[in-house]
Amino acid sequence: MEAFPDAGIEAREFRGQWWIDVPRERVLDVLRLLKEDPDLGFVFLNDVTCTDHPEEEPRFRVVWVLTSFSRKERFRVRTRCPEEDPVVPSATPLWAGADWLEREAFDMFGVKFAGHPDLRRILMPEDFDAFPLRKEFPMEGTRSDRQWAKWVLERARRTEEGRP
């Protein structure tokens, strides 16, 4: 199962499930192999998500969680990217469903997915100016309720006026 043709890949097992660390240049190749190899058959993409490790360098870890129905196994592919250049390849050419998952990871962590067709915020408002799941972001947010209320009323007014 670890018979990957790539160098620089680290594989580990945890409680019967495997994960591998892949350099971000090779991630798409590895994912394609996992999906298209008939012996592996990891055809289902469960999730694309990200974790933040501010004390480490590079800082962000992006994780793809895959399922193989033929093998009845799960598999995780991880890669890392630094804060200065937070770009990893997008899995949308392989799974159309990666679209919104990657938008969420972008929204929460600011990690960009190269090759994504429409990388916008998905949960937070478009004009939000931070990435809330980064460790340095305060839990209660950066805007006061008064500022938010003003923002809400202004938006409601603009939408109402913009109606035909």
């Binding site: 949960l123 937070m124 408002p125 809330p132 972001f137 305060p138 839990m139 209660e140 947010g141 950066t142 309720d145 008064r146 938010w148 209320a149 923002w151 809400v152 009323l153 938006r155 409601a156 939408t159 109402e160």
Partner: protein, 179 residues
């Protein structure tokens, strides 16, 4: 609007000679209003499930004439905000309130709608009273159906004290009075 304007003379006549008339009119209007509070359930999270229990047969909101849940703000009298309001959803909440015809009332159902509840976090509004005026707050997570019924009864009492005919006269007369 100009055609419906009532001159101060007419209002004066009403108020001096028609006190009994207006009070009776008020009583009739209030009676009709308080027994037909059509709620707009703005179900945002788990409190909406509890609201279904209020509407269903055991607790039966229909006993208070409030069973006609309308999903259009233009047909509703009471906005029942049931659940956690996020800032992004705030726009929808405010617009729904703006589209309701007067008289309109708002009940904040549950801890989240009243105060943000346990969510002191970046996307959650700390109480809907930041963007809409609230008549009653119901505590609880979620509140018992009885608590919701009590707030509807409290709202009925509030409506009883209203004087709709005077408000209408004052409103139509107001532009004249300022001239």
């Amino acid at each position: 609007m100009a055609d419906r304007r009532v001159t101060p003379v007419h209002v004066g006549e009403f108020q001096e000679e028609g006190g009994v008339v207006l009070t009776s009119v008020d009583a009739v209007i209030n009676w009709a209003r308080k027994n037909s509070i059509w709620p707009l359930p703005l179900g945002l999270s788990c409190c909406a499930i509890e609201f279904m229990a209020v509407a269903a047969s055991r607790f039966d909101m229909a006993r208070f004439g409030a069973e006609v849940a309308r999903f259009s703000p233009r047909q509703a009298d009471l906005m029942l905000v049931a659940g956690t309001l996020t800032y992004k959803m705030g726009e929808a909440c405010r617009r729904l309130y703006d589209q309701m015809a007067e008289p309109r009332w708002v009940i904040a159902m549950g801890a989240c709608a009243a105060s943000g509840g346990m969510f002191r976090s970046y996307p959650v509004m700390q109480g809907i009273d930041h963007i809409v005026p609230v008549d009653f707050y119901i505590p609880g997570c979620p509140p018992r159906p009885e608590a919701v019924l009590q707030s509807i009864m409290a709202l009925q009492k509030k409506i009883e004290k209203d004087s709709p005919s005077r408000q209408i006269l004052r409103r139509t007369a107001a532009p004249v009075a300022t001239e």
